[in-house]
Amino acid sequence: MPDRYKLFGLCVEAELSLPELVPADDNQPADVAIRLGALPDGLTADSGASMADAAMVLNIPDVARYLISDGRDILVEALAGESERNIRLFLLGSAFGALLHQRGLLPLHANAIEVDGRAIGFLGHSGAGKSTIAAWFHDRGHPILADDVCVVTFGDDGRPLAHPGIPRFRLWRDALERRGGDADQYQRSFDGMDKYDVPTSLGPTRDPIALDRLYLLGKSEPDALLPAIRRLSGVAAVDALIANTYRGFYLRLMGGAARHATACIALARAIPIYTADRIWGHDCLDAEAMKLDAHARGVDETVITRAPAAG
């Protein structure tokens, strides 16, 4: 019997164990089947993503090849001797990203946390500090809704919903140690990488919750003139969503860009999207995250400006 999990509201049946996911607790039919086996002959050997008819082939050198089809099936051909951790990283990352696009879902490149029953998302590319901020909120009692990928759908009333993703966050060794953790007690995110998977200790969220707002994480200088947190409107808001869609460039290969653009516009109309530029560095994290926390709990239009530097 394959293992069954819940991810992004989908029931996932898998022939390999996926310990980072939440086990499915009901008997609903599987939406997604992950199988192990050889990919059909004649597919491209090019690395990266490419199309084979309507299916997507993802070729990760030295790790595995993945064939993603019909928004339902992922066939994994692992390289002999490759660690399951590395195979899972690309399976639950890029390969699942392709599958979500095939299903016409909107996967944002965002971490999401739960604040007072609402979802708050932090958008940004890899390295923007999504996990660092999510971890800060988690350590103050806010459950993690999604790590790195947050799927958004629209309810019957048109309001956006954020679906539970992977309940974990990933931190570099120094961030872990500053948090008081011992890196050696955690699983590395990838073999040889000094980044670690931290399971959430607050229990997973099982149901989708209303997405209240998004913050696009950026970096600012201490003497920045613009407010650190400011609302994006119109084009800037839509652009932020398009640019921060997880594996959005796959849409150029597989089609579906019009549907995706329509979803981004609908989301930009439905909720406020802010840029949140923060001063980087561990010494500033507390102060900067507290501003975000205050903003997320405050009224929509509150703009928090940084006090002018002395002198």
Partner: protein, 96 residues
């Protein structure tokens, strides 16, 4: 008067109002454009293809500006929209 054009909206665009701003999005390349007040008005006027000369006359009357200045401004704006792939301009002979 210079040459006239028939102005069309390009296909493959998604448009919507977001926060009171008209946003047009190129499906092909994901590029997003925000329209200012004048561009928004012209966009509404070319829901059906229109001659540039008609657009100029209507706008000159509405904003009470001299027709020649208006013609030059409308031409420049349309050329910008054309360069961004938002409108198509087809030659329509000399303006009357």
């Amino acid at each position: 008067m210079g040459e006239d054009f028939i102005v069309h909206r390009r296909e493959g665009l998604i448009e919507a109002e977001v926060d009171g701003e008209l946003v047009a999005l190129h499906v092909d390349n994901g590029t997003c454009y925000g329209f200012n007040v004048t561009a928004t008005q012209i966009w509404a006027m070319i829901a059906e293809p229109k001659r540039m000369s008609e657009l100029t006359q209507a706008l000159a009357a509405e904003f009470d500006v001299d027709p020649q200045t208006c013609a030059a401004d409308v031409h420049d704006l349309l050329k910008d929209l054309e360069a961004d792939g938002l409108v198509e301009m087809r030659h329509a002979g000399a303006a009357s």
